[in-house]
């Protein structure tokens, strides 16, 4: 049986479709605790604990060159072309 590609969700900070679950659960309101491999924002921690807004994080990430941040998770094919 062919394997289904795992769904991806868009990171509300860097707008890359690289998250494995929604950044915030629509049901519970809780953050996913996932660290976006692209921009490095940890949903539910950088916002709920550190009080950083998505817009602030996005601006900081772009200012730093909008680079892929995860050292162990490679970017999806074609990611660089979209930047």
């Amino acid at each position: 049986m062919p394997k289904k590609a795992s769904p991806t969700f868009v990171c509300p900070v860097c707008e890359s479709a690289v998250l494995t679950e929604p950044a915030r659960s629509a049901k519970t309101g809780g953050g996913s605790f996932e660290i976006c491999p692209c921009c490095g924002f940890q949903h539910g921690v950088d916002d709920d604990d550190k009080g950083i807004t998505h817009a602030q994080a996005r601006a900081a990430w772009r200012k730093a060159g909008a680079k892929w941040t995860s050292k162990t998770q490679p970017p999806p094919k074609g990611w660089a072309k979209t930047r």
Partner: protein
Amino acid sequence: MTEELASVEGAGGAQVTSATPGHDRPRDSAKVGDVNCLRVLLTVMAIWCLGLPGVSAVEISRGPLVQPTPTNAVIQWTTDTSAGGRVYFGLSVKQMDRRANADAVGTEHSVVLTGLKPGTTYWYTVGTARLALATNSFTAPGLSEARTESPAARPVVSAPVVRPEVTKSVVPPVAKAAFDPSKLQVPPARQTWGAPRSLADHFERHGADFAARTADDYAAQAWIFLRRAKAEGLPAKRDEEGVLRVYDPKTRAFASYNRDLTTKTYFKPGRRDYFDDQPGQPVDLNKLVP
């Protein structure tokens, strides 16, 4: 998408901040559906922005949180500055054709969506009358789910609605024999960490909170923390999706675990009330953790 949004901004002079799972699809899937989706979305945003020059930026500082019942939903969010509140919603990202407004201007926003169909998924965009701030989706519970007395499934009576109840401290600590982790056989990280590919990133960010030497050591400490929490009766809560959150007020260690008890993350929050603000109901770890 970025360029098109920019043109919308230019037309209205208002800043559109997109935070959207549905709005910003991967760029390489420019299919007809996506183009239509973009058109409708841009129309909505254009309506939002037209003729409203010189708007200062408003940002979401918290939320949006959704409390759905089978036929209603309350959406709440907080903005950094005082503003009105508006929600566009509908059956898909392409079809957010209904709208609802908050009663008052302020930083705490609460909007009630009515006339929902049980068991149906809705997309919504929250914002002000001028700005779209965030888009997401939720599913109104089916009627049978609503009978199960889940607090979030209780019918919403009317606006204004208070923010969701936050469960304060939970299972009271019980005096027990000192916890001895040396007797535990810790499984390898690939079995205990929910998304093994992400472990290195979590270790890099939070490993120092626990003086962890390696990623495996960090994962092992997170696994042991849950066993210690069970033994010592530390506060724990579980949300509707089965996500578990555990906190030690003394050491300020916080961990979250998936339904299968694999670790999502482990760190020390800076805010004292971080755990209290997390969703979920108190849970007895003795009934949950083998």
